[in-house]
Symmetry: C2
Subunit: 157 residues, 2 copies
Amino acid sequence: MKEKEPFMKEAIRLSEEKMLAGFGGPFGAIVVRGEEIIARGYNNVLSSNDPTAHAEVDAIRKACQALDTYQLQDCELYTSCEPCPMCLGAIYWARLKKVYYGNTRQDAAAIGFDDNFIYDEITIPIDKRHIPMQQLLPQEAKTAFKAWQEKENKQNY
Amino acid sequence: MKEKEPFMKEAIRLSEEKMLAGFGGPFGAIVVRGEEIIARGYNNVLSSNDPTAHAEVDAIRKACQALDTYQLQDCELYTSCEPCPMCLGAIYWARLKKVYYGNTRQDAAAIGFDDNFIYDEITIPIDKRHIPMQQLLPQEAKTAFKAWQEKENKQNY
């Protein structure tokens, strides 16, 4: 694993540098293909007023722009902290090959971030969650799904 | 719930219109404060080459820009389909008040989307997941967390 360590060190370096510069929380991530760094991401929730601007999402979005694709099957992600559920979802949608992480979700909870709480919320039934969720107009909603199924020449993804 | 229905109908309308126009899958979402629509979002994964550009993420990002904040405590989200784990995470980070949804994750799976699969992946232990995850350099990673804790005048979020 020695050859992997410089990549993790770069993710950690970013996490501290960008946090100290006021962009957001102490989180950095990079997308790597082979031995090449494709994109560098960091938490910029505060500077961008964007709650989705976590390090992993930032790195994935930048890597997709750099490679002109919405899938990163040949790439690996190095992140200074275990991804939160939002970022883990993004990792699956981007179809990354492997994820290396430094801190854990429990480490993040210990310094005041909600990652672990959100993991708990996702696993419990909808009607037990802290943010109430309610189904509305399911029959009407299905019309768009039917239209998707019937669409010709569509790009499945 | 009658007064909620026009908002859901708008989310559904967006889901179909933008999908037919080729932006991405059949998903739409709006952020509402009181009786006012703050932002309209739709899946634009294909047109933006951005795997994170789901309807809910798109609507949340636009609403945060419109209101100049990274938190939406006074807002509700209407989405044409139950949020995937990425979007559910984004909803928690944005601290939305309530979520209304049309289709379910099972409906999404039935037309070929991975939402349900990703829910399953998130709930299983890290070492059982389809995308391998491995911890690396945890001691080094903690230095940035310590620096965050020691940072003066920081904005907790």
